[in-house]
Symmetry: C2
């Protein structure tokens, strides 16, 4: 994620220290961080630029120094969230020390903890923006769909491991099951936000896993 690379420490050169210029990276990344948080909570249409600026502590005049438009900013937010989330998925789903279906359970448990941390106010940026796609710039559509296909591919790898180890049937269609998982999981995150409860996440994951195990 760009947030992390921006915060990486550059090795100090000998001699006079360079003029400190933290503002560019810091403000830019603060805007991305604030934008992702607001999109995960309220979506795109309900998030005003003013609120992003206030939340990031960045003056209004600076925004267009970093981003060409609100839409260009939105596209960067999708990318930043997608990269962050892909790493999170891999951390759980490629964990070679854990049986494959337990990895999926661990991902679900982590998502539950993550949502509880913000009292179920924050959901999935991709789910939120997907829901309001009719009101968004068309250039977001392929991007959002592409992100979901990427997450599905990562999930499919885990399901194939489960198949190889005999946890799910050899004839199961792992591509379709991974798509099914992501279709339903976005619904579960939406419902958990609505109910402010982890129950929909647990109910969906439990029945999905039961269905797989048969």
């Amino acid at each position: 994620m760009k947030l992390e690379s921006a915060m990486a420490v550059t090795p100090r050169k000998r001699g006079r220290p360079p003029r400190l210029e933290p503002a560019y990276g810091t403000s830019r990344e603060a805007l991305i961080r604030a934008g992702v948080a607001l999109l995960s909570e309220k979506g795109y249409s309900a998030t005003g630029l003013e609120e992003v600026l206030r939340s990031a502590g960045v003056p209004k005049g600076s925004f267009y120094h970093y981003f060409a438009s609100k839409d260009a900013f939105g596209a960067e937010l999708i990318d930043a969230y997608a990269t962050y989330f892909a790493h999170k998925l891999d951390r759980w789903l490629l964990d070679g020390n854990t049986a494959p279906l337990q990895r999926l359970r661990n991902f679900v448990a982590d998502a539950r903890t993550g949502m509880a941390r913000y009292e179920f106010r924050r959901g999935c940026v991709v789910g939120n923006l997907g829901q309001e796609m009719s009101a968004l710039p068309e250039l977001f559509r392929d991007r959002l769909h592409g992100v979901l296909l990427d997450w599905q591919a990562r999930t499919e790898r885990c399901l194939r491991d489960a198949q190889a180890s005999g946890e799910i049937a050899a004839k199961a269609d792992c591509t379709a099951l991974a798509a099914f998982f992501w279709i339903g999981w976005e619904g579960a995150v939406l419902r958990a936000k609505l109910e402010r409860s982890p129950e929909p996440l647990d109910l969906f994951a439990d029945l999905f896993l039961t269905c797989l195990a048969r």
Copy 2:
């Protein structure tokens, strides 16, 4: 649905015809109809009152004659959509001439046709508003959740019929399965809108039914 009752014909009394006052009902129902259509497409935050008025062909001054506020209007739109959709569900799911799981398939096929009619631009009002709940008046939360519980109860009845006729296992938990269906189905409608394609609806429904049949 109020739309229908407003359009019902009142029996004519003898004598001088009463002064025609179609405006109240007509404008009010036109506003509800336009509001539901816009919410199903764009959700609440992205729908401006101006657009509802323009779409309904009602002058701005009239709106507050019918509704106390945009939020009061929104609450009525949820109720109108809920009632309309409950009738639709019952038409398919209580169809005694059809085997229970086929009724569910018929509901899915009808939803697919309905979404295709508007080129997958319109989704579910309850799913859309649920997704943006963080930006909506709190009074919508219980209402939206209540609607989903109502639809689940109607779906559960159909699953119990399937259980009684041996289409699904006697030990299946029909309450949980109906909740699972609605969690995932809202995700499928969201995804179909995003992809402008019926595939997510079919994929979700097919795997759900396969899972039931085992």
